[in-house]
């Protein structure tokens, strides 16, 4: 399978970023999942975020 359908042949391993109830529903379905306890980076200061991103590269 080419294209986006490549995922159809794989077992899902999920990263949940944000709303915690979606993490819970993955666990309920016995799907391997890691939850990212996401916080706005740089205290939500967008200018600072841009600088940090550039520094990482």
């Amino acid at each position: 399978m080419t294209g986006v359908g490549s995922i159809f042949n794989e077992n899902l391993k999920v990263i949940n970023i944000g709303i915690e109830s979606f993490f819970d529903s993955m666990k309920d379905q016995s799907i391997p999942v890691v939850h990212v306890e996401w916080k706005p980076p740089a205290g939500g200061n967008e200018k600072l975020m841009d600088i940090l991103e550039k520094l990482k590269k």
Binding site: V14, I15, Q29
Partner: protein, 529 residues
Amino acid sequence: MIRKTIIKENAYFDSVTLMLISSRVTGMSGVQNAAVMMGTDQNKELMLDSGLITEEDIQKITPNHMVIGILADNEHTVEEVLQGINDELTKKNTLKSDGEKRVKTQEEAVKAQPGSNFTIISIPGRFAKREVLKAIENNIHVLLFSDNVSIEDEIELKEKALEKGLLMMGPDCGTAIINGVSLGFANVVRQGSIGIVAAAGTGLQEVSTIIDRRGEGVSQAIGTGGRDIKEAVGGKMMLAGIEALKEDANTKVILIVSKPAAPGVTEKIYESLKGTAKPKVMCILGGEAQQIKAKGFYFTETLEDAGTVAALLVKGKEPMMTYFSETKEAISSLIHKEIAKLKPEQKCLRGLYGGGTLTYETLLIIRDILGDAYSNTPLKKELLLPDIKHSLGHTILDMGDDYFTNGRPHPMIDTRLRTERIKEEASKSETAVILLDCVIGYGAHEDPAASLAKTINEVKEKNSKEGRQIVFVASICGTEKDPQIRSEQERKLREAGVIVMDSNAQAARMAAIITERGKSLDELSWEVN
């Protein structure tokens, strides 16, 4: 009245968690208003507008602060609310079980779980692009639940994802089912051979649950986000989804669910679909039937028919549409019994919806029976409700719309927005019928029917004292295997005297026919091929 503001540093909870807590404590007696929010600019504005914080507070609060604001009758109530909030937050923390993988960043997540291949991203829209780009870099398929992502970013992200053969469903994609896993707001449906691509969130939920209830199943259900079919985005994810389903050996029937696409996109979709011998069902809400049928595709006007026709095609049977599941006699007798309860001045239908696509489907269905209806998401510009707080004539509201959900939980996860409006509509002398959806499944409220039923019972009691009755009609979008259990939800609504129909389409028809006092009953044809 006492105001109490507490600003906490280094405490972060997602917005849904905090909105649900806010909603719960605001419902406590003696509380005029209460909210607990992260200190983003938008939230600060909301809290300032509702008098929960002052201009002075604004200066101190950053997005890293969690802010609690309370307006209550007395100190004692303030203490109770604070206790309530603390209990909920503590409960949230202690519910974390051992062995759960929790990390702070996507980079850590990738390391913690090698081979991760899918991510659900539901953070505030302006931060979402960074996370999507990281996921694409790591060859991870994406469901982008967040809204408030620009169309330019959407195009860029979809192009980057497709270069690597990755799904980028969204932004504003609420639901998908991939390899039998329900993602986002999705129902538990059996696996099978119907592949769906939908640019319509609750539309996908309704068709997938109907398919399940007709004894068939879903191979894959891909959401695209509503903007995908606009000219600018060009149907990128819709087309990629169709191609994938064409190649997928488990998919025997392809079902497309959306509003009409931009003309250029429609042509591309037709072209792509022509390249497969698999039967194709098009549920284009408000679309041109003749044009679609001329291409050799099956066309359905409603979500129910889309699910039913796809299921029949899998079974190798002739497609058939449903008007009502029950006999004409049964429906007619039910309708006349309800009409007898109404006073002459009760002439209006009021629909209060949690699902956007379900709202749209209802507007289309009732147009043929009742004529025009006002809405916050109307079929024609001139039917836009001038003041969203006040219904006018027949009104169908999508209460999941930004106006309602700004700082408040979506009606699919918290019924309060709707229960407040039910009370208001029920108190109006012109209201004949209140029409509701009840969407269950993962992500949705744990027991929406119980909450709706409680309000409906209160309203009925109040109205009966005034010698007035209102008819309630609803449908449930969900299956027996959903955590809330469809039959349980149905029982609770029926016990509150609600007429529960088999699908949203049937509920909309039923509500409209009762409102117009059964005039169109005789014209109905029960079996349509």
